[in-house]
Symmetry: C2
Subunit: 357 residues, 2 copies
């Protein structure tokens, strides 16, 4: 029982040189059809697979990309990044790329890890999630010309002139759509349950504060034709991203006259929904969450769904044009903003009538 086949061993069997086998794999047009055929047959029969380490040593390409795992915060919103990682891995795998994950505590450590991974494992690039304004990570990567794509906008004044590629979901469109839907249902006093504004309160939110502002603006834009600014003011509340706080915030909004609520996250929405149903069993305000997490689906709550699978697909597409595309082609950074989708559900919650056994 021999060890695994190599280019040289295959070449020996076929009476050709290693380079011919190599060409058959990497540049088939250089090999004559009959030879190509024979080589391909042997490759299939022998189950040959090129050794990545050897290839990497020579080409300085690892076909391996890095992704940072985020620490699970106390929210329920991690589920969405889970789905993203899953889709990302799957899509990249299809194109022969592997994903190396790493976990670090903060941005500084993340940059250090980039350096380490680039130098030892020679990763070909990174997928960076959860970008913030003036993100030190993207500047670092850009400075050294490391290929990367972000899931998240740079949130700079002009996102379109951003020098790197990004894919993101348009939260504004999502909350606007939810608000419009509630308007068609006859609601006018629609509340927004979001996160606190101001940078110093960053801890209270799952990510940068720009995200929350974006989501709030969609609600505001959809509702402002129908309400006075003073009323709008009353109908917006910002609280830390926890279920408990969502419950409290919902009561405030209800007191201010809200008959329906659009939320910045499912955590808030879940708190709001359960609280309102408990406090006002007969006619509790409608609640729409954000992210369409499993919990929302489970309790039958409407929510705005981010197309993370599509985001992953776009990210991979862009990454491939950067890494596999023609070398000397100028690669203009791509910016893709995907619309979320409103998922309507009947309401759910505790069962009205105990089922008979």
């Amino acid at each position: 029982m021999g060890s695994r086949p190599t280019l040289a061993s295959l070449a020996g069997q076929l009476g050709v040189s290693r380079q011919t086998i190599s060409n058959a794999i990497n540049a088939p047009e250089r090999v004559s059809p009959p030879t190509l055929e024979r080589v391909r047959e042997l490759i299939a029969a022998s189950g040959y697979r090129p050794n990545n380490a050897a290839r990497q040593l020579r080409t300085r390409r690892s076909r391996n990309l890095g992704y940072r795992l985020f620490p699970s915060p106390d929210g329920i919103n991690t589920a969405i990044m889970d789905r993203f990682l899953h889709a990302l891995t799957e899509r990249l795998y299809e194109h022969g790329y592997r994903v190396t994950v790493f976990a670090v505590a903060n941005d500084d450590a993340e940059i250090e890890a980039y350096e380490e991974l680039l130098e030892t494992a020679e990763l070909d690039g990174f997928i960076v999630a959860d970008t913030r304004q003036d993100d030190p990570r993207t500047s670092w990567l850009m400075d050294r010309g490391v290929p990367f794509v972000t899931f998240g906008r740079p949130w700079a004044a002009d996102n379109d002139s951003c020098p790197h590629s990004w894919v993101d979901v348009d939260g504004r469109v999502g909350t606007a759509e939810a608000t419009h839907y509630l308007l068609t249902q006859g609601h006018r006093r629609i509340g927004f349950l979001g996160w606190p504004e101001g940078k110093d309160l960053a801890r209270a939110r799952p990510t940068g504060y720009e995200l929350g502002r974006d989501r709030k603006e969609g609600w505001k834009a959809a509702l402002s034709p129908h309400l006075e600014p003073a009323e709008l003011e009353l109908l917006s509340v910002g609280v830390p991203d926890r279920i408990r706080e969502g419950a409290a915030g919902a009561l405030t909004l209800h007191r201010n006259g809200a008959t329906a609520i659009v939320c910045a996250s499912d955590s808030l929405a879940l708190g709001a929904s359960e609280q309102l149903r408990a406090t006002f069993p007969d006619k509790s305000p409608a609640v729409i969450g954000f992210d369409d997490t499993p919990v929302a689906a489970a309790v039958g709550m409407s929510s705005i769904s981010q197309p993370v699978e599509e985001v992953a697909e776009k990210v991979v597409e862009i990454m491939r044009t950067i890494l596999d595309g023609p070398a000397n082609q100028t690669k203009a950074p791509q910016h893709i903003l995907l619309p979320p989708r409103l998922v309507l559900r009947d309401g759910g919650g505790p069962l009205a009538n105990p089922p008979t056994p």
Copy 2:
């Protein structure tokens, strides 16, 4: 500006041979103290890091382990595997190991991926989660002598004679502890809300059915000294792992006289808890969940917490003795069963009194 330092370039600067530098890194005892000192200084000053591809090509070790990402099911229990992956990655990184993740649809595809990853990326081993009885994956890995450790027992008749190493959490002990706690609180008729039994209903549960049986047995063992078998029978219900089903199951248990409920998952517990609180606002039965997911923490529900970080630590320890330990030492498989911890919370749920603004 030169490219990155290599063994040869460092050797040139110091007037020694490459091998001496290599020895200083991998076998310091072979190098004389003064030379060692000089080499180490230069390494630090130059920021030299060994190239992994070259090292791998020669040693056939990649310092890279594989881990399969699970498809996010519709439950809320993925959070725990998230934490596990995070801890695992962190611990392995500390010891110079990287984690390559992959996502596949089923067991066959998983085995194919093992093969692919072993041959091309030459992974050193795998961490296998969520094992079942007669798991085809572990047999495959064992047959080819691939190093691996599982998070999860083999669930065979005799776990202790299992030929591979595993780490798991003792669900039985967890539910027993929860039941005991409820007994000390004066409860006698304590219900168990679990999953359906029988292999054909596998879809209804997050994983193999052995897990659910294990958790149920802890409750049964703790309670059987206090109740007749017939009563026990009435106090146990098995439903699919969804919030909605948990709500229904809880009502059944309540009808059968349960004053407290121990659950096989937080999904079920959440449904039970919310339902009971809605249906019996004044004196709703106590509910204890399983897995201590973020949702449980958020709604203030008691739950049995799996020490996944500790599991990850043990898994890494075992993996290191396999991979880095003395080569010709006989490695008896290790089996570690960790106890979960009961996390008590006040109850939470909707706020009784609307807070003043």
